[in-house]
């Protein structure tokens, strides 16, 4: 069989063994079953863990098939994403003092708000869950367009926009400074699911003047809170083998 990649074959063999087992398996069992050295098997398992194709029990260290494999090709349920994100979104709102929203892509031009935590000042606010927003002019939208599963979505558009989305991808966050609503802005970061695809965008919104400094750069403390919270939700969803 010319042109096969050995490590992919080995990884596939491991997945067959893990998937066929009745319970969780230890590294030694798996190495024996596929006929590989324990260290080789361990290395392959770490990679499979990272992409979410296997899961490891924290206490026993044994492996089972991961949710990334079980759900291959089917998007994460948005209600599941909200449920897992809720504690982190609350903490982000409490610490930042700003409105927090979580959104997913709806087509190529719009995003839909799937979770909304009020600005913690007890003023009258309306729950925006289910509201659609334009993708191109919002921070949440830019994050989702930049990481769209169909790469044509990200490339679609003219020079300036494609460059901005490439930058969002490279630096790991997006900014909105009054493009959607005058004087209002947003700092948003990607939330990743098992194996790495971006499944949602998490962001804080508020007056441009309180989110960004005089030169238009996001305030450092705030940016850190947003990217930390997005990373925490990603871990919660199983990204990075957690």
């Amino acid at each position: 069989m010319p042109g096969t990649v050995q490590s992919v074959e080995r990884a596939a063999a491991i997945l067959h063994v893990v998937a066929a087992a009745r319970g969780a398996l230890g590294v030694t069992d798996i190495a024996e079953a596929v006929g590989l050295a324990k260290t080789t098997t361990h290395g392959l398992l770490r990679t499979l863990l990272h992409v979410g194709f296997v899961e490891q029990d924290r206490e026993t260290g044994r492996y089972t098939v991961g949710s990334g494999l079980r759900r291959l090709g089917t998007p994460l349920d948005v209600n599941e994403v909200r449920s897992r994100a809720s504690n982190w979104a609350d903490a982000l709102a409490a610490r930042s003092g700003h409105t927090v929203r979580l959104a997913t892509l709806a087509g190529e031009e719009e995003v839909v708000v799937v979770h909304h935590v009020f600005r913690p000042d007890d003023s009258a606010q309306e729950l925006e869950v289910g509201v659609t927003l334009p993708a191109r002019t919002t921070g949440l939208g830019k994050v989702l367009l930049a990481h769209a599963p169909d790469p044509r979505t990200a490339r679609n558009g003219h020079g300036g926009r494609a460059a901005e989305l490439a930058e969002v991808r490279a630096r790991g966050w997006a900014a909105e400074r009054g493009e959607h609503e005058p004087g209002r802005g947003c700092i948003a970061a990607p939330v990743r699911g098992p194996g790495g695809p971006v499944v949602a965008a998490l962001g804080v919104s508020g007056p441009v003047t309180s989110l960004f400094d005089g030169r238009g750069a996001p305030r450092g403390l705030l940016l850190g809170m947003v990217t930390d919270a997005a990373a925490a939700v990603s871990r919660e969803l199983g990204y990075g083998g957690a």
């Binding site: 948005v78 909200r82 609350d90 903490a91 709102a93 409490a94 935590v117 009020f118 913690p120 606010q125």
Partner: protein, 500 residues
């Protein structure tokens, strides 16, 4: 000066957690340990008190180490699973048997006997609650009847009784070497042994249940000095204790009469503050102690407990396999516009408030070939909403207090379809606070209030922030009011079905 923090121990049904909160009511650190559930016979549920004590000590010491020098932890508060009953040897600190957990139904026969006695009305009259296996008094009686020599040893003062907070405080303050044997008034009110007006053990109730006074802890206010936790790596004053649902009421800052919270977990627990007035209940809610600050009068609450809320969604997932995870119930429910005429009454082991019909059994009503899994998912969520309406209606009839808004917490509050349904079916705004950990926050508030971390309950109220609000739609509220009799009929059918 470092920030002043408060440690809360949340001793729950499945795990023990230690959490540290700052003055803003924000969680700083958390440690958790689960304990084993023992099911020695059908209907019996037990926990090992020694395991729970070890977990409490471990999580508390670890979380104190996590906080380190970041802040100064100045007090400890405890919130505990209610009605779980422990009896132990004062000299050795060993329990005479495992704790009988609140879900345990072994006292059913005993309760039926007690209810049949001509003087049974005394219990409701004095304790504020009708005799039910849900409370700890009958469990204590069962232990005294079934453990050899337990009654004579208890009479000699060799055995001690406690709910979980009493057991933990006794161990934290020295155990066999001078441990303080105290309970808080909210936990004591769940035994059926306390006079709910005077908040003292009642000699006639003790005689009714056959409980020796020598084994009972001293009843103390929920907020105030209870002892010093010398068993921890760093000694801390224990200055707050509350049953978990009362702790959630406190954590939700429901300090004014009429203010209410509902926790949506496995079951749902609605408590409404009724102030210093004890409400006589006739409609199926329970009058219970909400909390007491040292030196102040007791505050009361009405309570409506529903056994099955989130547990019904788990049944949809594990029993029927219609969904892979609990939150997916909303996705499935949103595939249809309405319940398609379908109603689910989740009376898996009878119905608690406001019906109190142990014989009722669950049913799915209104099936036609039109009803699909989406309708079933909707009916499952609506069951929790309808049950909340049942409870709120009973409370309104008992207290005459209106419900300005319902404060909610618990895992099901991320379900927007359910929260909107509850707002519509109650025709009342439903609000969720920023800190979802209301049980442990309530314990921290109680402890911190006693040592001056917060000046008064108004300071706690200012920590409460709205994270979300679901506003009722007048049109939906009207439609649901018209639909409510169908739900009531389904409930009656479930009671009739279970009748012998």
């Amino acid at each position: 000066m470092p920030d002043r923090y408060v440690l809360a121990v949340d001793q729950g049904t499945t795990s023990t957690r230690s959490l540290v909160f700052d003055r803003g009511g924000r969680m700083v650190a958390v440690r958790q340990r689960e304990h084993r559930q023992h099911f020695p016979r059908p209907g019996w549920v037990e926990h090992d008190p020694m395991e729970i004590w070890a977990n409490t000590r471990w999580t508390a010491d670890e979380v104190l180490a996590d906080v380190g020098a970041a802040g100064s932890v100045v007090a400890l508060g405890i919130a505990n699973q209610r009605e779980t009953t422990v009896v132990w040897d004062r000299a050795t600190g060993r329990p005479v048997l495992r704790a009988l957990v609140w879900q345990d139904t072994r006292t059913a026969e005993l309760v039926a006997e007690l209810c049949a006695r001509p003087d049974a009305e005394l219990v409701r009259e004095r304790s504020g609650m009708a005799i039910a296996g849900y409370f700890s008094g009958p469990r204590l009686r069962w232990i005294l009847e079934h453990v050899p020599r337990a009654r004579e040893r208890a009479e000699r003062g060799e055995l001690l009784f406690g709910t979980m907070e009493t057991w933990l405080i006794w161990n934290l303050t020295g155990g066999p070497e001078g441990g303080r044997h105290v309970t808080d008034v909210t936990n004591a009110s769940r035994t059926l042994l306390m006079d709910v007006r005077t908040c003292r053990w009642d000699p006639e109730l003790l005689a009714f249940f056959g409980i020796p006074a020598a084994m009972l802890p001293e009843i103390r206010p929920s907020v105030g000095m209870l002892g010093t936790a010398t068993a921890l790596a760093r000694p801390l004053p224990i200055t707050g204790a509350l049953g978990d649902q009362q702790a959630a009421l406190f954590g939700q800052a429901c300090f004014a009469p009429g203010e209410a919270k509902c926790t949506y977990g496995t079951g749902s627990f609605l408590l409404q503050n009724t102030g210093t007035e004890l409400v006589r209940t006739r409609s199926g809610s329970i009058s219970t102690v909400a909390y007491q600050l040292a030196g102040e009068p007791v505050r009361y609450a009405l309570e409506g407990s529903v056994a099955v809320a989130g547990a019904l969604v788990q049944w949809l997932r594990d029993g029927l396999g219609l969904i892979a995870t609990a939150p997916e119930v909303e996705t499935l429910a949103r595939t249809v516009e309405d319940n398609g005429g379908c109603y689910v009454v989740p009376a898996f082991s009878g119905l608690l408030a406001p019906h109190w019909r142990g014989e009722a059994r669950g049913l799915v009503a209104g099936l036609t070939s039109y009803v699909g899994k989406g309708h079933l998912a909707r009916a499952v969520l609506e069951a929790t909403g309808w049950q909340t309406r049942d409870v709120v209606r009973a409370m309104a009839a008992d207290s005459g207090l209106s419900l300005p808004a319902l404060r909610v917490d618990g895992g099901m509050t991320t379900n927007n379809l359910l929260m909107q349904f509850i707002a519509d079916v109650l025709d009342t705004p439903v609000v969720r606070p920023m800190v979802g950990e209301t049980v442990s926050l309530g314990a921290a508030y109680a402890a911190g209030l006693a040592v001056g971390v917060w000046s008064d309950v108004e300071a706690l109220r200012r920590n409460w922030h709205r994270a979300a609000q679901w506003t009722p739609s007048a049109e939906a509220a009207r439609a649901l009011a018209a639909e409510y009799p169908r739900w009531e009929r389904a409930v009656q059918l479930s009671i009739a079905w279970g009748a012998p």
